[in-house]
Symmetry: C2
Subunit: 528 residues, 2 copies
């Protein structure tokens, strides 16, 4: 049952007077639920509980934390239909998507559990002593990763499960050994409360300290700002807009003790269609991209918002088919009237820029909050000169840029801001022929794709979901995949430390049986 | 021969009108050398050359970059006596130190060369395709680390070789594949010019592109600010004061495209003397710490500036012996009159704080710029209340804090700012008995030492030289040891990429024979 209250650790709390509702975009009306915005005292209580919980939680074994993560996945599943119907009501997304995303979320939690049980992720690095070395003896030094403290997680609007309350940020932070305080996303606060209840049930059944998880309701920016400025908060995970992410990043850097902010802020995900892709498979790619642009009402951070090609008849044909195909598709409901309004504004603004022509625009009347797809085209020179055309329009929208030649295409790629993904469509031999194009694209992105679509982000060790600023605030880390755990840790070296007092991961007899780097060799052996 | 000119890549340049000299602190007079401060145009030229060089340099094999690093070490050695005499003249440090530090610097360059030749440092992570997976096929994804672009390096005053022109920041950035622009330290600009000439000779003999290295003279803050704000500079390495490092860090975060700043800003390196250390080995530790506090005129970022003990007769005896021993030692020449003046000011300010008593103060007259050591003592409660006593005094200075009990000691550790190192002196069993003390210390430091001195920083894979803010601006990275290379890279994922076009480190047949994580297993095998 949804109460509208905050979770301050295990306690439900609603001491504030400010309330807000969530919204059903399909019915175009508010839901029946009212949420109590967290007060300054509640925020402080959550941070203090998290800090106290950290003193115990940070020392838990990988196996104990793994049990907690698995229990969270099970408790989320146990919420059953109530959770799915709350999700669809608060997001306008269909039931199939809700169930798929729930599966992804549970899968992420279990992937981190597997990582913890295996244990090598702590990067144990050991240099043994050489007492006879000249001119000075070499001392025994051993390094591994340790959690940094309570983490504030800002969920996204577009993934109410996978990038929210128990999403990748929360799962990776809890896996690292860091308590989590979620700033609930106001568009799906009911979904967030239910998922929070699952996390706290799991915390209880697996013996986690009170404060290991809190969930704070918030409809504006104040709760988030206070969280980021709280001295007991030591890191921030954020998924959302460039404006919001950059503001939090700057705020965190202005603290007396700056803290890391990992903001994943989306991008326009350039796709380069090389000549052979258009001449040999143009129709096929046009159909695939019509689907990718409109998938989930275009509300993915990896949505392909920019397709670049070199002017010729094949490109013309591609454009024609893309237009025809995308107009055939039925629009979907967007997440919220605000998102729908921003989408309409963005479409309108970009459509009126000099040199743009409409390829396709779905004009048939639709229900409120449904996103009518649109695709524009523009010449490379007009695109180069106009930074407005480089900005993301969140929704089913894309621009096809017709470049005069490969040099112009390369110039455009160099001028683009950092991106989550970049895609090359073509023949394998063209990667060499268009080396400068590929190199320019690689330098601007976190993930580079060959002959595919950028939507669809696999949860695996090799995934990099992030990219040069402003795709994310720290291109060295990923928010998807098991490497996401590396955001919440720092290394500490132990010098000349007694064996029995070392963390297990650093002991000579390697009781955790993990891979380590010992005297510059990778090994899972004991040290004699 | 020292010309006083800047190196803009291979070209010597002196177009500016502002000049400055270096200073011989032992003779207490300026050296004969005049240096031309880099102009805005020269800074821009260096950044542009570095950016252009990067397009080629980033693709060089590990082996080719290793040859470059080894050649730098050889060319530094080939500078012979001129380099050593310039170093001693500009720093006031003795010849033995100069030679030792030169060896360390050459050793660092060679350690990175070894790392590059081995090759596994790129963290190649591969997840192979599973076309049959339900409900969606799994695509082939492969991730590794790539260099980020030109790096600005700000050398330190106190290590004219090892943390300067060809020091750890430069060596690690060049190893990563990033060109380097050094902002020369004004106190040893001549030493810097000579080392720069060695780097450029090595670049020439090993076929490196023009612009892979530049050296800019600078006596104020303008050159450094312009470098950090230059759009073609993509990262910053800094060793120096909290004020200087924090200013550059904030500047870099205000750019349109924020860039990472790795500032190593020193600390007071708390040492906790547990009861048994004082009762059983108090005299021995007092002698060792008298040496550690005054080593190199106390001009080390790991200098022990704070010793904490619990009040009893053993602590009294330790204090007495420390005082006697440290007064016996001859003061050494400090690096520069400015550093000596700041040391005198700091000593004076801390000596006049409420509750402080002098344990030892070297008062015999000395030559100009010689640092007269001083040690104070204060009660735990006075120390807790007075943040001024928590600040670093750069030079041969330390404070012994007499705590009422272990709780007060723990409170002090929790209140301290982030530190590079922390040291526990005691019996191994005391690590358990004083668990909260040890835990508090570990949470504030980058390296924790048992029964030793913090001075002496081994260059090895397990070293962490850095720590929570303000010891450094990014506690996740080290500036000493081979892991320092990780500061200048970011991961990129390749999805569904053709085998022949993948970087060698990601190819199925593993032509570099490196350790990789393939489908979650550590292996150096090929993929069938």
């Amino acid at each position: 049952m949804i109460t509208g209250k905050n979770y301050i650790g295990n306690e439900q709390s609603a001491t504030g007077s400010k309330t807000y509702s969530t919204f059903d975009p399909k019915l175009n009306m508010a839901t029946e639920w009212n949420f109590y915005e967290a007060t300054e005292d509640e925020i402080d209580a959550a941070a203090t509980k998290a800090y106290n919980a950290f003193q115990e939680y940070k020392n838990f074994s990988g196996s104990k934390k793994a049990d907690f993560l698995i229990a969270i996945a099970e408790e989320i599943e146990a919420l059953g239909d109530e959770l799915i119907s709350t999700y669809t009501k608060e997001s306008g997304l269909p039931e199939g998507r809700a169930k798929g995303e729930r599966g992804r979320t549970m899968g992420q939690l279990k992937a981190f559990a597997t990582l913890l049980k295996e244990g090598s992720w702590v990067e144990a690095t050991i240099d043994t002593a050489q007492p006879e070395r000249e001119p000075f003896p070499k001392l025994d030094i051993r390094k591994m990763l340790f959690p940094i403290g309570p983490i504030a997680v800002f969920g996204s609007s577009n993934f109410p499960f996978a990038f929210s309350t128990a999403g990748g940020d929360t799962a990776s932070a809890l896996a690292a050994g860091c308590p989590v305080i979620v700033k609930s996303h106001p568009m799906h606060a009911g979904t967030g409360e239910l998922v929070s209840s699952a996390i706290l049930k799991a915390a209880d059944s697996t013996g986690m300290p009170d404060g290991v998880f809190s969930n704070l309701n918030s409809s504006g920016i104040e709760v988030g700002q206070q969280l980021v400025l709280h001295p007991k908060v030591k890191g921030v995970g954020f998924t959302g807009s460039i404006k919001g992410g950059t503001a939090l990043y700057k705020l965190a850097n202005e603290r007396n003790e700056p803290i890391p902010v990992f903001a994943e802020m989306g991008s326009i995900n350039p796709v380069v269609a090389l000549p052979s892709a258009l001449s040999e498979n143009g129709t096929e790619w046009a159909k695939k991209y019509a689907g990718s642009i409109t998938l989930g009402a275009g509300q993915f951070c990896t949505n392909p918002g920019l397709i670049l090609g070199i002017k010729n008849t094949s490109l013309n044909q591609f454009i024609e088919v893309l237009g025809t195909e995308i107009e055939k598709l039925e629009p979907s409901c967007m997440l919220h009237p605000n998102i729908h309004n921003n989408f309409e504004k963005g479409k309108q603004e970009l459509s009126t820029q000099d040199g743009t022509d409409v390829i396709a625009s779905y004009e048939t009347a639709v229900d409120p909050n449904y996103g009518q797809q649109k695709v524009l085209t523009v010449n490379g020179s007009d695109f180069l000169e106009n930074p407005k055309l480089h900005q993301e329009v969140f929704g089913p929208f894309s621009i096809v840029v017709q470049c005069a030649n490969a040099n112009e295409l390369t110039d455009i790629l160099h001028q683009l801001e950092g991106q989550l993904t970049g895609t090359i469509l073509g023949d394998a031999s063209e990667i060499k022929t268009f080396e400068e194009v590929v190199d320019a694209l690689q330098s601007r992105v976190g993930r580079i794709i060959f002959n595919g679509v950028p939507t669809g982000v696999e949860v695996c060790p090799s995934m990099l979901h992030g990219g040069p600023f402003p795709a994310s605030t720290d291109s060295r880390f990923t928010s998807v995949g098991t490497s996401a755990i590396k955001r919440w840790v720092r290394p500490v070296s132990y010098q000349n430390w007694p064996q029995q007092s070392l963390p297990d991961a650093l002991k000579n007899d390697n009781p955790l049986h993990i891979m380590r780097i010992v005297d510059s060799e990778h090994t899972n052996s004991k040290i004699d």
